[in-house]
Symmetry: C2
Subunit: 292 residues, 2 copies
Amino acid sequence: MGARGRFCDRLSERIDAIGAPLCVGLDPVLDRLPEGVRRVNNDAHGAFVAFCTGVIDAMADIACCVKVQSACFERYGSSGWDAMEQVVAHARTRGLLVIHDAKRGDIGISMAHYARASRVLGADALTVSPYLGEAGILPCLGEGLGVFCLVRTSNPEGDAIQTARLEGGTMVCDLVADALHTVGLSHRGTSGLSDAGAVIGATKEGEGMRLRDRLPDAPVLIPGIGAQGGSWQTVRGLVRRGATSPGTMGVLVSASRSILYPDGSAGGDRWQDRIRASARATFDTIRRELDL
Amino acid sequence: MGARGRFCDRLSERIDAIGAPLCVGLDPVLDRLPEGVRRVNNDAHGAFVAFCTGVIDAMADIACCVKVQSACFERYGSSGWDAMEQVVAHARTRGLLVIHDAKRGDIGISMAHYARASRVLGADALTVSPYLGEAGILPCLGEGLGVFCLVRTSNPEGDAIQTARLEGGTMVCDLVADALHTVGLSHRGTSGLSDAGAVIGATKEGEGMRLRDRLPDAPVLIPGIGAQGGSWQTVRGLVRRGATSPGTMGVLVSASRSILYPDGSAGGDRWQDRIRASARATFDTIRRELDL
């Protein structure tokens, strides 16, 4: 943990301070960036740093976290990773928590290296894949990181494995949720939340309450609202029973493309204003839909 | 595919040329490197490049591939990624195929970015995780990469999900294998193999033949021989029925720590000789155990 305390508690405090559990996804794609940003920068590295730091500045007071999509940066190799390092450092100076959305999953010392990589990057939490079991989660918790483990993803192709029925009638995603809950029991903070969080897509209508019952303490990162057309009913189903504040509800709504590229691209010279307006609209929607 | 042809065919040809399906894993860990390598290099970057290129030179004529463990490099951020780029470039100049062991898994454009990242790195194939379904596989095949999808991993913690029983009695790993086989049907090469390969640990005694029956065309990357104590019977069970040469057997035995750190570390001044001897011993064992 260290002096900073548990991730789950820092997240909870940050949400209470901001007033709504909004996470903005940073998914920079070169040909969607504002023309001005591309013009004054020679390459993806410069354009990504300029754009992402600009996004951060535009919404640092209405977002709790940024979720950095590692793939967007890795696509440019070591140069892209360097840009990601700069973006994360800037987010931290603006007081934002940082989720390294890298969906890692390995075993033993390799998973420990991934956890260390996310921490050296400056992230507070990491997304992970469950197929290797708790071997892919414990090294992250041991490194003092929060974890968001894929339980139920927003894409339709995930159904084939995630909703496969097990003997006894539960689904594979339920098994993953139960295992995650067990891991989280010994990593709970003063907020009542645990550092073993879950990713559950808002597109999965009707599954929110069932999965919340299996994961009573988990912070849940919820993609799929916005561009993917997810449902607020699912988000509401994921709110922890008995929550006493926005920060103890255990939900974190993530929006990326609908904020960064409100009309398919990031727009012209006034792009920061437009992105702020999109983020603000999402913030207001969250407050309204969650009755905050 | 491009002018180079399919990954599965290049792999098959390379195995036939070398005479045994040996893949050497490059898992550099700073405090295990030879003292001389650490002394003449100021940092992990220099030491990793010196060590890994030295390993490649020591066994370029007895290994078909190198498997680059991305986590070991990412642990050092952009500098580590730069070292990985140099190591992969060197492996290619020595004629080795390169597997980017990154166990990626995402959806949509993010997975396409990961596939592009592996290709820009110079890799021929990528390891991927199956929890997001075929969304995590198709973009890699579309990028001209081979895929090795985690089906049955060598670690015990993976059993909880991978061997969970589905209604009807099959296991989750069987479901993954079946889905992978379906994807591979439209990505088969002249070798009879497909570009949709699998990772199946040699530690899973008795499961090799069952999984091979479900994956008749898949190249199978097999970790777990060596340091993890896997079984040659499992490897033999994974050999494709009717194979006409080493390259059409569909198995690729991966060894990392047992070759790189034969006594727990890479040894003293004669480390390249020792690593070559370890690789050679593994090569000979493969030939003996597979009756080549």
